[in-house]
């Protein structure tokens, strides 16, 4: 009934035009991105850490919500592809001037942007932008979702998948536990979508009932309220960041109680498989969701995640920008 029933991220041939969500993204597309990220990961080890793929293209980092860390990884990725990078921290300033998101997009498109990397505090903002570009005959301009509200953070999800595949090779016999504030987590939503598409048989979310989204089971996960049951026998433990504003109030009583019940300590990690890896999207709250002994321990792959994140973002940008679409 509505105009947005089809996901605007795929073109008529099933090619990746924008990257907005991992939900519904075919396994072949996800695998292609992960495969392409492998050679990009090697570029970081070279004397010249750049390839000329996106020479002459303009990547606009459009951050309606500040995030220095994510913006930086996209900036490095774009620069390693030889693109020109323009950083715009829009924050609340443009909305207070009465300019809408789509006004901003129209203005920047007129400045010949090729890729918009969009971070927004509202779920669905990148979809709105992509649908607008598609509807106004500018589908050669691409949108990469760099995190929208509590909806998705697809490049984070892809780098998590890349990391898991790097260490565990195959998804088809894995148990993955995602622990923490699933309710507000775009990281969790992206990872669950990707894991399910790649055939992971056992995806668990572990959280107190206040932080579990309604009917989350419908996305293909099992819900555990107790940490020791949730991580038992897992191959991968993904810890989510607990945002400051959730640390007290009606969702949780205190960081202390949260750490006691859901923080990842060496004792709780011992319940997982002996070769289990520990992941975290960063930035970490040590002593809130994760113990330093685990974060810095030999099972932690948190720093490799960061490195892989650049390669995965290079892969995403080079695949979508290489899909030029019809030029009007």
């Amino acid at each position: 009934m509505t105009g947005l029933a089809r996901n605007p991220q795929l073109d008529a041939n099933g090619g990746l035009r924008h990257l907005l969500t991992l939900e519904g993204l075919p396994a072949a597309v996800i695998t292609r991105i992960l495969d392409t990220a492998v050679p990009f990961a090697a570029i970081g080890e070279r004397e010249v850490k750049k390839v000329p793929l996106l020479r002459g293209k303009a990547v606009f980092n459009l951050f309606f919500e500040n995030s220095t860390r994510t913006r930086t990884t996209f900036e490095i990725a774009a620069k390693r592809l030889s693109a020109d990078v323009i950083n715009l921290n829009i924050g609340a300033s443009s909305t207070s001037k009465g300019e809408t998101v789509l006004d901003t997009i129209d203005n920047l498109t007129a400045m010949d942007a090729d890729i918009f990397v969009v971070r927004h505090s509202e779920s669905g903002a990148p979809h709105l932008i992509a649908a607008h570009l598609n509807a106004t005959g500018r589908s050669h301009v691409h949108v990469v979702n760099a995190g929208d509200g509590r909806h998705q953070h697809p490049t984070q999800g892809l780098l998590d998948l890349f990391t898991i595949r790097h260490y565990k090779k195959d998804f088809r016999d894995l148990s993955v536990a995602i622990v923490g504030d699933v309710l507000h987590s775009r990281v969790a939503r992206s990872l669950v979508s990707g894991l399910a598409t790649l055939g992971t048989p056992d995806i668990r979310v572990v959280a107190p009932r206040t932080l579990v989204p309604t009917r989350v089971e419908a996305t293909g996960v099992r819900v555990f309220n107790e940490m020791h049951k949730g991580v038992a026998g897992c191959d991968v433990v993904v810890m989510l960041r607990l945002q400051n504003e959730r640390m007290k109030g009606a969702l949780l009583p205190s960081t202390g109680e949260y750490f006691k019940e859901y923080g990842l300590t060496p004792e709780k990690l011992a319940l997982a498989k002996p070769d289990a890896i520990v992941m975290h999207p960063g930035p970490m709250n040590r002593g809130v969701e994760i113990d330093s002994a685990v974060a810095d321990g030999e099972r932690s792959v948190i720093l490799p995640q960061v490195t892989f994140g650049i390669a995965v973002r290079m892969a995403v940008m080079s695949i979508i920008a290489g899909n030029p679409g019809p030029r009007e």
Binding site: D35, P39, A41, A42, E47, V48, L53
Partner: protein
């Protein structure tokens, strides 16, 4: 084997003979994925002089990206030696427009500044669009523009040549 095409193994042997004595003893062979990588492996074995072998995937340096996008199945380039100051023999299966070689030379320079680069190809089919010439050639052929010369490798490592209709990209 397609009629009219030379035998790959015989051509490879001829190429190895031409290189023997011409190639610097410390030169490294760098094969361009995928056919060039097979040829480089075989040449290193046939010459038996301990030449190091590396591999390049030029997907990130191709000049048709804007038109055709990123090729699927890009592979990781692997040069396990210092390119700076090295003498390098680039190895490819078929030399045609010269664009892959251009991309490979550009990529090599992102690893360091080589002392010299030579080029060895199994087949030179003419049709150059860039000023590129091979130092060592296995065989020269004239082939219709709508055909691709494709190298394949059997499980035992034996190489074979075939002509296939060009697939538009």
């Amino acid at each position: 084997m397609t009629p009219g095409l030379p035998d790959a193994e015989g051509t490879l042997a001829a190429l190895a003979e031409r290189m023997r004595g011409g190639v610097a003893p410390d030169a490294a062979f760098v094969g361009i994925y995928s056919g060039g990588a097979w040829v480089a492996d075989r040449l290193a074995t046939m010459l038996g002089a301990g030449h190091r072998v590396g591999y390049l995937d030029v997907s990130f340096y191709r000049d048709d990206y804007e038109r055709a996008g990123l090729k699927p199945n890009a592979r990781r380039s692997a040069l396990d030696f210092d390119v700076a100051g090295a003498t390098i023999v680039l190895v490819d299966d078929v030399l045609y427009t010269g664009r892959s070689v251009r991309a490979a030379i550009n990529e090599l320079f992102d690893y360091g500044r080589p002392a010299a680069i030579e080029l060895a190809v199994l087949i030179d089919r003419g049709g150059r669009e860039l000023p590129v010439e091979a130092t060592y050639v296995g065989a020269r052929l004239s082939v219709a523009r709508d055909l691709d010369i494709v190298l394949s490798r059997a499980a035992d490592g034996t190489l074979a040549l075939a002509a296939e209709p060009r697939v538009a990209r």
